[in-house]
């Protein structure tokens, strides 16, 4: 069979698949061990944590759709060698094709039917006037935008909202009847339990948040085709599409950075704490040295040098996407280099403490090899530290991307990212009336993702940090009952 496309898996795609495999492996392990499941059950009880998790899953779903890349087969009449387009597309690009292809001339405001700038328009009679020209796509179905637009938006919004609500109602019913079967109760009993928030897992938060996500999603899906809901940018591209594409960049920086630095931090931190002596001295020297260099400057230096390297060897990458993807991966690597020292120091301290414990002394006395002690006895006991620092780092990294892109050492300028959106919109601040929608879209998307990540991180930390449990007695917790936002 002749395939009409060729998979073109980018480097970061591969690493994302590796990350998914690692997560799947961990989930499988956790499900089989009761003592590993216990802290996750505490996460599942947290209303705020589960609500944040639903929003994170929505972001991750968009990011994953955007992580399967391919190239179309070029039509050359079936003769000669098969050639593929140089444009690399993802599943998200295909799903959002109407957004991608409906390019206007230049800026237009959200939901506008006319361009942002006045132009000379030729009337049918041959006369010329200066007016705001109609958009090619946004609101093109309206005869008289000024009068019809409000009603049109309202009726479309109502339609897609009710569709979204119907979808959610079906999903919620399925979910609750599944719960009812699991608990061995009737449907109404299960519904009552969930509604009163009496379930072990915070199902009420999950269902309410997913209602919100589905409603917002259906609203956006219903309105983004006839209108540009976040307006268009300087070259007339849909800002909403840009913001969606930027999700993957943000997620990649937030997760892959940790993935690439984790092996170093784990190995060096544990070995330093366990071996002590000169090994400890050397590792401490390495991380103190790296830590003493201001992070932004080290990143800037490395990125500048890499840029020079790419510029002097322009033939290394065959597509623009591959080049910007390599730059993204490099940014993750160098962010990892500047970020691993903190985790390494924590792990060293913990390993130092653990290696004094009786069970490890006993293992040593029995002649268990160092490698086995580290992997069987120390590694599982520092896992909570790794997890907490991974989820805590995520939001900081997403925010760092925007700042680095502003400084000029972030992701490739051709890559969609919130930082690049802010950077290009910043120059238009002086315009009158102000072009605000690009900034608004980038900041809004970033804010929702980072807020969800922060809340989820708090829930995970509360569940995993043994200190937190000891510090707050059950009585204090019962008095607080504030929903997981406390330390």
């Amino acid at each position: 069979m002749m395939l009409a496309f060729k998979l073109d898996i980018l480097l970061t795609d591969k690493l994302i698949y590796v990350l998914l495999a690692v997560i799947a492996l961990l989930v499988w392990r956790i499900l089989r061990h009761e003592h590993l499941r216990a802290p996750w059950r505490r996460v599942a009880q947290s209303q705020a944590g589960m609500a944040a998790a639903v929003i994170l899953i929505a972001f991750v779903a968009v990011g994953l759709l955007d992580s399967v890349h391919f190239r179309h087969l070029l039509d050359n009449g079936g003769k000669g060698e098969r050639q593929y387009a140089s444009e690399v597309l993802s599943l998200l690009d295909v799903a959002a094709a109407p957004l991608r292809e409906r390019v206007e001339k230049t800026y237009s405001a959200p939901f506008a039917a006319q361009l942002y700038a006045k132009e000379t328009i030729e009337l049918p009679g041959g006369r010329q006037v200066r007016d705001f020209p109609r958009l090619k796509y946004g609101g093109a179905h309206l005869k008289d935008p000024e009068r019809e637009r409000g009603d049109d938006i309202q009726s479309r919004a109502a339609g897609s909202l009710s569709l979204g609500f119907a979808v959610w109602a079906v999903l919620a019913t399925l979910c609750i009847s599944w719960l009812a079967r699991c608990w061995g109760t009737t449907f109404l009993q299960a519904l009552g339990q969930v509604a009163r928030g009496e379930s072990q897992v915070a199902w009420r938060a999950v269902l309410l948040t997913s209602a919100l996500v589905i409603l917002v999603g259906s609203l956006a899906a219903g309105l983004c085709v006839p209108y540009h809901i976040f307006g268009t940018d300087k070259v007339g591209q849909d800002v909403f599409y840009h913001a969606l594409k930027s999700i993957r960049t943000g997620l990649v920086i937030g997760t892959l950075t940790t993935l690439v630095m984790l092996p170093f931090a784990l190995l060096l931190g544990i070995v330093a704490g366990y071996m002590r002596g000169w090994v400890d001295d050397v590792i401490q020297y390495v991380y103190t040295t790296l830590n003493s260099i201001p992070g932004v400057l080290l990143i800037a230096a490395a990125v500048l040098i890499m840029q020079g390297h790419i510029e002097s060897n322009p033939d290394t990458f065959d597509t623009v996407a591959a080049r910007s993807d390599f730059r993204l991966l490099f940014l993750c690597l160098i962010l990892g280099v500047t970020n691993w020292t903190g985790l390494c120091r924590l792990l060293r301290g913990e390993a130092l403490k653990l290696s004094e414990m009786d069970y490890i002394q006993a293992a040593r006395a029995f002649g268990v090899s160092h490698w086995r002690i580290i992997s069987r006895h120390i590694l599982p006991n520092v896992f909570h530290i790794v997890l907490i620092s991974v989820v805590l780092d995520f939001s900081g990294l997403v925010l760092a991307e925007a700042v680095l892109s502003y400084v000029g050492v972030g992701v490739d300028p051709t890559m969609q990212s919130w930082g690049n959106m802010i950077n290009s919109a910043r120059l238009e601040m002086a315009r009158e009336p102000i072009v605000w929608w690009q900034l608004a879209a980038a900041f809004a998307f970033m804010f929702v993702l980072v807020l969800a990540a922060n809340i989820f991180a708090d829930a995970v930390r509360d569940a995993f940090d043994p200190r937190a449990g000891r510090r707050m007695s059950a009585k204090v917790l019962a008095r607080l009952r504030l929903g997981g936002a406390h330390e």
């Binding site: 260099i293 201001p294 400057l297 040098i305 020079g308 700042v403 601040m429 922060n454 204090v476 330390e487």
Partner: protein, 325 residues
Amino acid sequence: MINYIIRRLLYAIPILLGVNILTFTLFFVVNTPDNMARIHLGMKRVTPDAIVKWKHEHGYDKPLLINTKVEGAAKLTDTIFFDKSMSMFALRFGQSDDGRDIANEIKTRMWPSLAIALPVFVIGLLVNITFALLMVFFRATYLDFWGVVACVVMMSISGLFYIIAGQYLVSKLWHLVPISGFDYGANAFKFLVLPVAVSVLAGIGSGVRWYRTIFLEEAGKDYVRTARAKGLSEVRVLFRHVLKNGMIPILTGAVVVIPTLFMGSLVTESFFGIPGLGSYTIDAINSQDFAIVRAMVFLGSLLYIVGLILTDISYTLVDPRIRLE
């Protein structure tokens, strides 16, 4: 005490040497002087003669590590490593690509940086500690809960948003202060108010939450319970006991940044057009002036290490339990 400080200073030398070797590797081995010349002369159509000339003008035409052409100690000193990298220990940073003396630039530009960073540091610390203490005072009430929620929301907002929104509201809409720029003397005030206020605001979220955690941990300790049991008022307990003991972990975070205040903030300075070291660095990054970036990396590390030593010394001043030996 003096012994300890001398030992710490000696320990700083290998770290700075490490930083030096790392930057040398990055800037001269990975990115060869030929490459640098090509970047500055334009990538295409650059003749070998032009490269040689550029390297000679900027002093990059010596051997990297060992000069075999000369005799004696000059074998090691007449090299790029000694000339460009080791000389930074004597705070000689050489010339930037436009021919100015970097050390001189740093001396004039650090004052505007300090004029922003010092007020941000002091006001930020006071504001954060005040809010954190208030939240601990009202702990386990709705005030505390919504305070934490506000902190989480504020720390989820990008720092760039605070700057852009602040400039738009205060300067463009209300015309209270100029959007950007800088002046010396008393005139500096109107240029400094907005960047300082914005930077303090942007730091409140994470700062207050962090200090609140420290104070809560302190407030749960036995001596605090004793203080309450003997009938001290809550205000007195907070200020005399919790605040004083909480200052120890706060010092770790605060003292270490004091020397690096000279470096300024890249983003704030470039948004507000402050001619400090931060905007100097950002301009250097944009014009790919490696000499300046290298100098700033070294200076940053040096100041950070000074900060670490100051932290250790300040410990002995606030915590009599710690003696440096």
